[in-house]
Amino acid sequence: MIKLTKDPIQVDEVINSVYDDGAGAVDVFIGSVRNKTEKKKVVKLIFEAYEKMAISEMEKIAKKTMEKWPVCKLSIVHRIGTLNLGELPVVIAVSTPHRSDAFAACRFIIDTLKETVPIWKKEIFEDGEVWVAAHP
């Protein structure tokens, strides 16, 4: 399952999508909205995506992950729109026969997603806002 969604991500649905008879391990990464970024209080976040390219880049990551590790199944779901404190921007789940591959593959997916997928995050503070990572 690879998708962008405007609705809250259903974590159990993402996890259920990767269970597999041949899998002994599932690793799940969940991003959540923290209340602070370097001491400034975050009120909410806005995620926007260049949607069709974001999906195509997530599919490329999935393909590359399956080339590098013996993955049974994997899912990547990213939220877009406005998120409040505690809500979940991203949920990734990977099932593999053995656990070390599940950890490595899941870590690779989130690291690569943050580098290549055209999604942008704006943090809204009580006294301003900032596009995350835009400046050096």
Binding site: Y50, K52, M53, S56, L113, V117, P118, K121, A133, A134
Partner: protein, 80 residues
């Protein structure tokens, strides 16, 4: 040729619109487009990076642009 580029995130905020029309030489490269943008919008030059995509694929500075393709400006991504 007249190109129309589409912008997201901070690039859209800098330009003040999600679409921008501009005039470049026939067969101009992505590098030339980047220079043109930074000349017109110096704030673009202060971003950590500016990437470009054509038809949903990243393209590098040497890529030759055409007015028939969808050109996207991609400021530093921050998903996850």
């Amino acid at each position: 040729m007249e190109l129309q580029v589409i912008m997201f995130g901070i690039a859209r905020d800098i330009v003040g619109d999600s679409k921008l029309k501009l005039e470049l030489d026939e067969g101009a490269s992505v590098g030339a487009l980047k220079k043109h943008l930074i000349d017109g919008y110096p704030e673009m030059g202060r971003l950590k990076s500016i990437s470009f995509a054509v038809n949903t694929e990243y393209v590098d500075d040497n890529y030759q642009l055409s007015d028939k393709e969808e050109i996207i400006i991609i400021p530093p991504v921050s998903g996850g």
